[in-house]
Symmetry: C2
Subunit: 273 residues, 2 copies
DNA sequence: TTGCTCCTCACGTCACGTGAGGTGGC
DNA sequence: TTGCTCCTCACGTCACGTGAGGTGGC
């Protein structure tokens, strides 16, 4: 009862272009039920129309082909729905990011410079509980959140051991290649037993220029720009990782406007003299 | 006063990767103010930081580089804001499309087949006022809207001349290549003077299978699938453009649920006997 | 027999990312 | 002098679109 359709007919039926159908065959997403061995002609079954319609809808939502395959191959409804919901959440987050970007755009377009007060400081060498890893730009916020959650769980065993706020080191490579070493850490005062990914180590001393960023991490480039410009124009720049101290972090408040992040820019040796 | 920065420093300052900065130089979006002729080393000015931050934000919203360039080069604030608003509207539309897609997904996932009643009909050859053009898939809805607006303006001069609802012909190529000839037309009863892009012509007779699609054009593939499957399984399929009659179209209602579109699938000669 | 449909390469698109292989500056 | 930073190709990615050049089916 299921009729055989040429690729052109199937295209008109499903609203997928012929080129797209050939591509879906090539990548094994939607293979015609029969291919003539002599001519290579593709023949689709009318029973494949619903699958094709699903594919078209998922691709219209920009779901990657690998994920479409995962949805189609899902062994049960729960798995399938999870994949779909995960994609929707990503779309939603993307929209929210765009909206936040638009909101932050106006100040930049009007040329309102973020004239941030800069101070100098010598950060001493301190013992810390730390988690390090190779992290990509896009996953950095999530990675930090998990790392601090883990550090906090470990520190709960010895609450008096913590001597500083959640902090992080970002390697130069992390900024320049958008993938590189990131270290989440908390300064220690007392003793604590490392567990999980966390290790006891030390953060070296450094002369730094410091400014405080107010608000969400999405706009922290403005503080970086102001701080880096300030340092560069005075020829004070050094090398080494950039530090951030989360004076008021996501664990402390749900109000993004209340967030406070200290950005510490490394100075060349002797810059503070 | 504006300091010179190496590409690495500028990267850390602006949060743009080194690779991205080189690319923006290659395409002429953000050129360093100085390039060492001997070594090829790029040197950026700290005064370029705000421009870089703008670029980063626009790219974060997935604005194409050509549009970012247009925004940066905008001769006045009005032009600039127009470009930005246009991009935001596209983002918004994309979101709305996704939401609509999600809504329509459930029926498909649950396998609820659209069991649409199909009837056969012989469409006679009729005189029409028509606008034709090569149209791409994505612009089709907008093109049809403009075409019908223009046809209606012309028909206003002779209101009694119209004999049918807004209709359209879609070439096979339009479905198979997602670009091809589309014709918007209205059947004529009396005389009318063609103007603008519109011409007086005729739509040929055709035996067709017909079903009525309820709701927005985004889901019309379901009617196509049901109708095309019906025709194919009975081996009735012919060639030629597919017709749509907008029984209740966007000019008639603002309620998407009220929309009614007749889809007419061409049959082979003699299929109606 | 003539178009027409379909086929398979091969390359282009977009905004970079990923190495490879090599040179100047401190 | 030794790394380190920076450089330029050349190619990969993703989901197709765009021809080019060629063959079977009605």
């Amino acid at each position: 009862m299921s009729a055989l359709l040429s690729i052109g007919e199937f295209s008109r039926l499903t609203h997928l272009s012929v080129k797209a159908l050939r591509h879906y065959d090539d990548v094994g997403l939607l293979a015609p039920i029969h291919v003539d061995p002599a001519t290579g002609y593709r023949h689709y079954a009318s029973a494949q129309v619903p699958t094709a319609q699903l594919i078209r809808r998922f691709r219209e939502m920009d779901m990657p082909i690998e994920q479409v395959r995962a949805v189609l191959d899902a062994p049960d409804l729960g798995t399938r729905d999870e994949t779909i919901v995960a994609h929707l959440q990503r779309m939603q987050q993307s929209l929210e990011r765009t909206q936040a970007t638009v909101a932050s755009l106006e100040a930049l377009l009007e040329g309102r410079a973020a004239s941030l007060p800069v101070e100098f400081r010598t950060e001493p060498r301190v013992p810390v509980l730390a988690i390090s890893g190779e992290v990509t730009w896009d996953e950095a916020l999530g990675w930090l959140g998990e790392a601090f959650t883990e550090l906090r769980a470990t520190l709960d065993a010895a609450p008096s051991a913590r001597a500083g706020v959640d902090s992080a080191l970002f390697s130069e490579e992390f900024f320049e290649a958008h993938v590189g070493e990131v270290t989440a850490y908390a300064e220690l005062d007392g003793d604590v037993r490392a567990s999980g990914r966390s290790t006891r180590t030390e953060v070296p001393a450094a002369d730094v220029a410091v400014t405080v960023h107010h608000g969400t991490a999405n706009n922290i480039d403005r503080a970086y720009g102001a701080l880096g410009t300030f340092v560069a124009e005075r020829k004070l720049g050094g090398s080494g990782p950039i530090r951030e101290h989360f004076l008021v972090g996501p664990f402390d408040t749900d109000d993004e406007d209340q967030l406070r992040t200290e950005v510490c820019w490394p100075l060349r040796p002797g810059a503070c003299n």
